[in-house]
Amino acid sequence: MLIRAKVNGGWRTADVWPGASLLYMLREHLGLPGSKNACEQGECGSCSVWLDGELVCSCLVLAAQAHEREVRTVESLSSDEHLHPVQDAFLEAGAVQCGFCTPGLIVAVADLLQRDPHPAEATVREALSGNLCRCTGYVKILEAVFLAARRIRETPA
């Protein structure tokens, strides 16, 4: 079936199997492999994207559900020259190891800081409890979130 969606600012179409997930469409039809497939069950958050501005696990959303809607992925956050403050903070804090969970976490953190620029630790932990990381033990991820929050607050709008 033919799906048309606004992806990272531009309208794209893909001819997908009706059972295909949004994640599969992004990765295998639209050449956007930044969102990762790690559990297929919405447990790990590696496939986190925005659908009409709402954070979703794209493995749990049918491609068909994104028809005529807006999708933003991790690829939308940076340009060739510039990193998003969350991306930069992850590198500075040492919050990246293998990097497989990283795109999903960066999307989830960017989403959190958009809603709450000054989150308490408990809020951060709750917000990221759906993003599994197997390498870091989350200690430096937490540091990266606070670093990014500070940088975003200090940056003049």
Binding site: Q41, V74, F90, V96, G99, N131, C133, R134, Y138
Partner: protein
């Protein structure tokens, strides 16, 4: 070499520099194995056995083969070369042809235009199985009447270590029985890669792995191709932790690519990943510790049994580690260790972070606490009193030659600040209670407990294996100044090895611009990214190659001085991009780089020995020690746990990238926390019952406490930069530290991990045993497959 450099180049050894692969990783542009794509690409799929033990009567692929979109289906008989492979012994079929030995064993593979077509076609393959009785219990596997997993019996390896006098008396004895469950590496990126057929009849395989060359050594004979026709390239690795030491989709993808003439990608689902790699060995451990009244250990008996599952994988090395570390990092004059790994029809077990050492430490640290209680001695004092030091003799007779700051590790860990107590009745965020929000309890029955554990393991490969790593370094003049390229087959798996290699090159050559080329088999083997060995081994190789490049540079400088009639006034040095002689500047590096300088070097660590029949020998190279203290809160009504804080201290030799070292400690701690509290592959009658992240739980950010870690930096002599491997030690100690804290909070025995809520509130009694498993009769300390000739002509990686 007398030449010393004192470079001040930025980003060198000792700095917490940013990852060399960091920017693509945060942008989502880093190409993991599962992200690979090629024109005309097909998707591979594996059909696996549903039975733990069965004979294959027939396989009918006719209906599957005529499915539109299916390009090839291959069975065991289609493997053109050797039918089996394996890390240590080639005992595992590429595709089972007559018998399956575990549920999940590959039986057929197919290639189709997309994953869904492949999955549906595979469901049409009809396999007629004659189900056989299976052995799924490790103690039953030792019985003579048990079903035989292989023709040569169920004992994979038995280790017998005798040190001192087994009959030595003691004032106080404590006994214990312990069990550990089957843990999964649960790396976030499942097995994946792509095979591309080449014009020369060979194949290029892009794969997420831990050791390219050992993969090739197993793949090529099965494809019936020479090594030069099988070229491996590292794809992005989404975590490893031992799960990628064994071949998974490698041979299958190559077979399908060669058959179809098209690129074939295979990417396991999470469910398949649980069947597609080995796991941490479940264990049963019996221990008896004897000490004098003043707390001096005099006699330790260890009986350890590991379930190796259906195929050998790295089991013989795992039981080697479990056995040699069985008495812990303690001076004990009299020790007997009997360690056995058996074959069963359970899923194969093999490498996972700190293999063998994890199981042993859970046992011996529980014993140390029991002994402290029996003697009324503070448990930390008891450990300090018995801790090994340089010159100590281990149960294998090996004398600790390097640094072993065990007492300092213990003391510094114990001295780390404790977390604040929450006063009873104080308001607290419900999220901070065990189990988080939404509980039926308001925390009326919270008990706090503190536990402590010390542990150790070897660094690099052991037992006489000639462990080595090659690296090639090229220094050339670039448009932006001098540039260094490092070629190494060492696999970056997320731990930060490539960043460390770049730091070493910067420090050695004083050149900031360093590029690590993608690892492949065009350069010699770097050995495995395992056993905490790559910083030492590939770091050592890069250091040697850089020294040779520097010497080449000096040779050019000497020639220029000689041709201008000036003899060098003193020792040549390289500092901040300048060559100087006796302190007098001769010229910038670029001036000597009309042609690039390239050198290849191989690093070997000092030789080790296999153990003899009494388990004696210098079996290991170097040791890393760690201690952790855990503070927990247990809700005694609900059986729920919150780990409040982990304090860690680790003997690291020297931290080449301190931030990276802390990251290893924190990540390793998280895996140990998971093993203590939630992680277990539930296997019943040989079948995995929880092959998903919904049912196999790993710690989330809500489960992980703050980790306060201290690095003990006492450089190890005779290793590059004095740096010890750091990847595994925290995983060893965090599990026993947390369980000790749970015992302290609840007063319960808790002799099995993972600890379940039912264990904490007494609904489940402690696990019991009728006594140590009998010692099997085997010819000697070698793995049994050796004796039956299975190793003949096969890969022998870890004797």
């Amino acid at each position: 070499m007398s030449i010393r450099t004192i470079p001040k180049t930025r980003g060198g050894v000792g700095e917490s520099v940013r990852r060399v692969d960091g920017i693509p990783k945060v942008k989502g542009k880093f190409a993991f194995g599962s992200d690979l794509w090629a024109d005309e690409m097909l998707w591979g799929h594996t059909l696996r056995s549903p039975h733990p033990h069965a004979r294959i009567r027939s396989i009918d692929v006719s209906s599957a083969l005529t499915t539109p979109g299916v390009h090839a289906i291959l069975l065991g008989g289609d493997v053109p070369g050797r039918k089996t492979y394996g890390l240590e012994f080639a005992d595992q079929p590429v595709l089972a042809w007559d018998r399956v030995r575990y549920a999940g064993e590959p039986v057929a593979i197919l290639a189709a235009i997309d994953p869904e077509t492949a999955r549906r076609a595979a469901a049409k393959i009809v396999v007629d199985y004659e189900v056989l009785s299976a052995v799924t219990d490790m103690e039953q596997a030792l019985r003579l009447d048990a079903p035989q997993v292989h023709d040569f019996g169920n004992v994979l390896r038995h280790m017998h270590i005798v040190h001192g006098d087994p009959g030595a008396p003691a004032d106080v004895w404590v006994e214990g029985y312990y069990e550990t469950g089957m843990q999964d590496q649960a790396m976030l990126g499942p097995e994946s890669g792509m095979a591309i057929p080449a014009d020369d009849g060979g194949v290029d395989l892009y794969v997420a792995t831990q050791w390219l060359h050992v993969d090739r050594q197993q793949i090529a004979p099965c494809l019936n191709l020479s090594f030069d026709k099988v070229r491996l390239h590292l794809a992005g690795v989404g975590g490893a932790f031992g799960a990628r030491e064994d071949v998974s989709m490698h041979i299958h993808a190559c077979l399908l690519a060669l058959r179809t003439g098209r690129p074939v990608k295979m990417a396991y689902s999470r469910e398949e990943s649980f069947y597609g790699h080995v796991h941490r060995h479940p264990s049963r451990i019996w221990m008896r510790h004897g000490a004098t009244r003043d707390g001096t250990l005099v006699n330790v008996y260890v009986r350890i049994l590991l379930d190796g599952g259906a195929y050998a994988s790295s089991s013989s090395a795992v039981i080697n580690n479990a056995s040699t570390f069985g008495a812990g990092p303690y001076d004990v004059p009299n020790v007997v260790v009997e360690g056995t790994c058996v074959y069963t029809n359970n899923p194969p077990c093999g490498a996972m972070r700190s293999f063998g050492a994890v199981q042993a430490c859970f046992g011996y640290e529980a014993q140390m606490d029991k002994l402290a209680t029996a003697l009324s001695i503070d448990p930390i004092m008891l450990r300090l009193k018995n801790a090994v030091a340089p010159g100590s003799v281990l149960p294998t007779g090996q004398v600790i030659r390097g640094v072993a700051p065990v007492r300092e590790v213990i003391e510094r860990c114990a001295a780390l600040p404790m977390p604040d107590e929450v006063p009873a009745g104080a308001h607290r965020d419900p999220l901070s209670r065990p189990g988080g929000a939404g509980n039926v309890s308001r925390g009326e029955s919270l008990r706090r407990g503190v536990g402590f554990a010390v542990g150790y393991k070897n660094i690099a490969y052991s037992g006489g294996f000639d462990d080595s790593a090659e690296a090639r370094v090229k220094l050339s003049a670039g448009p932006g100044g001098p540039a260094v390229e490092v070629s190494s087959a060492a696999c970056e798996v997320g731990q930060g090895l490539h960043t460390v290699l770049a730091q070493i090159a910067r420090t050695e050559l004083g050149v900031e611009h360093v590029v690590i080329l993608p690892p492949d088999t065009q350069v010699g083997s770097a050995g495995s990214t395992s056993a905490s060995r790559q910083t030492m081994m590939s770091g050592g190789a890069v250091q040697l190659a850089c020294a040779a490049v520097r010497e080449g540079l000096f040779e050019r400088a000497r020639r220029r001085l000689a041709s201008s009639g000036r003899m060098p006034p003193g020792e040549l040095t390289l500092e901040e991009g300048q060559i100087a002689a006796g302190g007098v500047r001769i010229g910038a590096i670029e001036e000597f780089l009309n042609d690039p300088i390239e050198r290849t070097r191989t690093y070997h660590h000092h030789p080790t020995q296999p153990l003899d029949a009494q388990g004696q020998g210098d079996v290991h190279v170097s040791f890393g020690f760690a201690a952790e203290r855990a503070v927990v809160e247990v809700d005694e009504d609900l059986g729920l746990v919150r780990v409040v804080q982990i304090a860690a201290a680790q003997d690291v030799g020297r931290a080449l990238n301190p931030q990276g070292v802390h990251g290893q400690i924190e990540g390793g701690t998280a895996q140990g926390l998971g093993f203590a509290l939630m992680e277990e592959i539930q296997v019943k009658d040989g079948l995995i019952r929880n092959a998903s992240f919904t049912d196999y739980l790993i710690p989330t950010i809500l489960d992980m406490p703050p980790v306060v870690s201290e690095l003990i930096e006492e450089p190890e002599p005779d290793v590059p930069f004095g740096a010890k491997g750091v990847g595994e030690m925290s995983t060893i100690v965090s599990t026993p530290a947390i369980v000790a804290a749970l015992r302290n909070a609840t007063g319960r025995e808790l002799n099995r991990v993972p600890v379940r809520p039912d264990d904490l509130i007494g609904l489940n009694p402690p696990v019991r045993s009728g006594g140590p498993a009998p010692v099997p009769k085997v010819p000697g300390p070698e793995p049994v497959p050796h004796y039956v000739g299975l190793s003949e002509g096969q890969q022998e990686i870890i004797p």
